[in-house]
Amino acid sequence: MLTIDQATYDAIVAHARRDHPLEACGIVAGPEGSDRPERVIEMVNAAGSPTFYEFDSTELLALYKELWGRDEEPVVVYHSHTATEAYPSVTDVKLASEPDAHYVLVSTREHGNNQGPVEFRSYRIVDGEVTEEEVTVVPTLAANSASTGN
């Protein structure tokens, strides 16, 4: 299950709407091993395409170096589909390379840049196998158990 706070959910949806009809992409970083998506980092879609996304290779390295320096990892990897459902494409599955991440797909096919409901779904993609998971949106993430000593 993916547990995500409302503000993070809204930020991902807003990014997808803004970039429509191109695919939007980014990550939500969190402390390593915490499964807490805490920090949205929007990335530029270097492919600039309605049917493909790719992080720029230089920005990719800068992103990971920042994460390593903060003992973080990509808890969520998100991107949008702009004409099809929010389900991983064959290419998405083939290229998925973060077995520990939640892959979030947002589809803007219904309302494009405008307000209105969007599909927001989450998956695990490991060894070519896609498993959809429940998404729970909470007002704020629960206090970090590590920091409260529980």
Binding site: T51, F55, S57, T58, L60, V77, S97, E98
Partner: protein, 90 residues
């Protein structure tokens, strides 16, 4: 001649879970062959038909090797190599 190589999560099955390993070689191709000797199977994940795989990024001292001659990119003692799979899809 020791070169540190940062290994991404998805390739750590080849390195016994290690995040970083060391290798040797005076070019990226030689380094990858050296890594293959110690971590069999890893080369095939980096190289396809004599070229770097399209969706794997390798950096030497923070520079994408595609701008340094690809597999022919020269390496020296103390260089830092990072392997990162592309974050991409359709």
């Amino acid at each position: 001649m020791a070169i540190e190589v940062r290994i991404p999560t998805i390739l750590r099955t080849y390195t016994g879970g290690e995040k970083a390993v060391t290798g040797e070689g005076d070019s990226l191709a030689a380094l990858i062959d050296d890594l293959e000797g110690k971590h069999p199977g890893i080369k095939e994940r980096l190289v396809d038909q004599g070229d770097l795989r399209r969706f794997v990024n390798i950096y030497i001292n923070d520079e994408d090797v595609r701008f340094m001659g690809g597999l022919e990119a020269p390496l020296g003692d103390g260089d830092q190599v990072v392997v990162l799979p592309a974050v991409a899809g359709g």
